[in-house]
Symmetry: C2
């Protein structure tokens, strides 16, 4: 019989102090989103392997923890996939789309969902990045207007503000603008995703870097140099703009309806007015977002920190075509969502040294070894009375090494420590 | 590409109303246990397959969802177990023991742990019983005195009382008493577990039923009839007793130290005095608890309900030998724990028709289709001001079928509905 005391590779454990911080952040998030009318739902950790491998999840589909069928025999299997029928979800969007398709008749329209739960990815473990992580998603399903995006972005901005995470930028774009810019430069449609992957690196490698990737790209029909120049010309004045109408001007006339552009501009102006000086709202024509299921506006929030330049903390977008796929396209449902990186939030709060306030009225009773049960009963009865008044009370045996015990109790926030022995109770004076 | 809209077999989904009830119960549980000095921790869902199959978990070890190694090739495997290195935990005790062994130097002594999380068992799905379920465990590690049991039982009693679950019985026994009774009747030691499995059925099949099982039991050395009669004689006066000292008298003299009996009696008397009339506390010599890792006092709480006679809602016991196994027995740690069936609690609250109170100040703004963005902005700004005051505010597009929309909003607890159109705002009078 084998016993292994370390956790499985890449899996996180939460000690009490970390857990207090997580609970604090979690409660703030729930509280804020509930005030915006989002309702908590829950979906199972295990999904059909088919739903996890239907090409909606991009790279994540290569990182699935797969689950063995029960009672399966090795001899009967031709390949690994014969042996497995489920997997741990790699995000909360796939389960949500399935959940909505399955339960739509019981849900209001539009449905504002709040889902908080774990997801798993067999990524290479690295500092601060685990193979099990908590995600927190809000989604609005059944609203094809941009009221959905305005709500999602302003609710999330408010949540970040409530958590005191510091200055942030909201970057907004639209997949249709991305595509129209690629189209007008005559890139072949099946190469759009490669073009966008290059563009996505702009903030790291600069315009020249992007241009070099596009020039060296190895496609059947190599991009004409003039097209690459035309494309990169779009971005030569930077990546953050106040207005997408000003930025685009008449550049996309003929390939993109002005409705798409006005729709996005309304989101930008409206969010800017709602969140005021809590964060900066910009149009960023280089914002890509990896997932291929996005169909309209896409958005990301990055924290602006001197030590931590532009780190993305939340991202999302509109995905109007996904839910219909779970219904053989019988019922389409417009959908837009925002996924918040809970682990990032917790690690930032931790690095800021935030300590959630502990009840100021915490008492520990330390019971001496040979105390009679009549006296012990009395301590417990008194402790329960105080607990009934909302106080945190610990009843514990006195340790041999009382100094260590007292230090640990102070660390846990106990501000009154009472020793109970045959001689009665006496309070220990804390330094 | 395949899309399946139903959940994986036996996996639960939580709709918003269910989720509200779960959140309500969860918060009450956390709140109560925190007042007793328990600290939240968290452990990963995936455990080493070795830890899940080391004969600590009894029948549960046959119900594991196993996880495929990443990048494994079928050809290299001789048997299914070569292909898998992890599994989903079937309870929270195995992860806790591992966690404590791994982190003991950072934890206070005694450590009072509160763990709430999902566990998975590939059980036959049935009504109200799912393959993913939430468990809620409290454990006290590093306290070898019965202060631990007194705390565990009185905290859990208080929690059930706070949730208003109705009358309950606390049944208490000790594995050492169980064993001594079997020993004094000359049952062979390797048959104790079979004897206890029979005894455990007393409340369903009565004393005669138990006797028949024992008589017909097919062991190498068949039980002598007089031993079976001697054993069953213990229980002929029923199964609930006020005092284990009165019950046992001198029956176990010579095979069990009086210390064990006094220890248990002190727990019973002390808990009875602490929880007073919130629940009945009894010694039940037929209480068995399945897990073989228990070493001392064991306990269970059952609800007493006219419609739902004696349904177990929480169970636990002392398991002093488990944690040491994760340390090659270098460091032993006394431990006692109580596991609360969260799903049972929720289903009982639901059957009682409990509806958590929703914020009484909930307003929905319904936006007409062609409203200009200036007006929309104003609605959002106003909504955010009210949200800042703690109110729940929904901003949504007006549906074509407004009657259905309003009904659903009322169902969700919105008590003020305001239509916003080009003509301004007007409140819809609710029935």
């Amino acid at each position: 019989m084998s016993f292994i005391k370390t956790p499985v590779k890449g899996m996180p454990e939460q000690l009490p102090a970390d857990m207090e911080l997580r609970e604090y952040a979690m409660n703030k998030i729930k509280e804020t989103y509930k005030r915006y009318g989002f309702s908590l739902i829950d979906t199972p950790a295990i999904e059909h392997i088919e739903n996890l491998t239907n090409k909606q999840g991009g790279e994540n589909e290569t990182l699935i923890f797969k689950i063995l069928k029960r009672g399966e025999k090795l001899e009967k299997a031709d390949k690994i996939s014969d042996l497995c029928d489920g997997g741990l979800r790699y995000d909360l969007t796939v389960p949500l789309a399935r959940f909505y398709a399955n339960n739509m008749s019981s849900l209001p329209t539009p449905f504002k969902s709040l889902q908080i739960g774990n997801a798993w990815r067999a990524d290479r473990p690295q500092k601060g990045r685990f193979r099990q992580f908590t995600q927190c998603d809000i989604d609005i399903i059944g609203d094809n207007s941009n009221l959905a995006e305005i709500e999602l972005i302003s609710a999330t901005s408010e949540m970040l503000f409530q958590l005191g995470l510091g200055d942030f930028n909201v970057r907004i774009n639209d997949r249709r603008i991305l595509k129209a810019m690629a189209a007008i430069c005559d890139f072949p449609q099946d190469k759009y995703d490669d073009v966008f992957i290059a563009l996505d690196k702009m903030d790291k490698i600069g315009l020249e870097g992007v241009m070099n990737i596009l020039k060296s790209m190895n496609c059947a029909k190599k991009f004409a140099e003039e097209n690459v120049h035309k494309y990169c010309n779009f971005f030569k004045e930077g990546i953050y703009f106040d207005s997408c109408i000003d930025f685009l001007g008449n550049k996309l006339d003929g390939v993109l309806s002005s409705e798409v552009i006005n729709n996005l501009n309304d989101i930008i102006l409206c969010v800017r007015k709602i969140i005021l000086n809590k964060g900066k709202v910009v149009f960023d024509p280089t914002l890509v977002r990896g997932m291929s299921y996005y169909t309209g506006p896409i958005f990301e929030i990055e924290l602006v920190d001197k030590s931590n330049l532009s780190s993305s903390i939340a991202g999302g977008g509109r995905y109007d075509e996904m839910i219909g796929k779970y219904n053989d396209n019988k019922i389409q449902a417009a959908a837009s969502g925002f996924s918040i990186g809970f682990e990032r939030i917790v690690s930032i709060l931790k690095s800021k040294g935030l300590k959630p306030q502990i009840d100021s009225n915490s008492t520990a009773y330390l019971i001496s070894k040979n105390l009679g049960y009549d006296s012990i009963e009395n301590v417990f009865v008194k402790a329960n009375t105080l607990r009934g008044k909302g106080q945190r009370i610990l009843v514990s045996p006195k340790s041999k090494n009382m100094k260590v015990q007292i230090d640990k109790l102070i660390e846990q926030g106990y501000n009154k420590i009472i020793e109970v022995s045959e001689l009665g109770e006496h309070e220990i004076i804390l330094r």
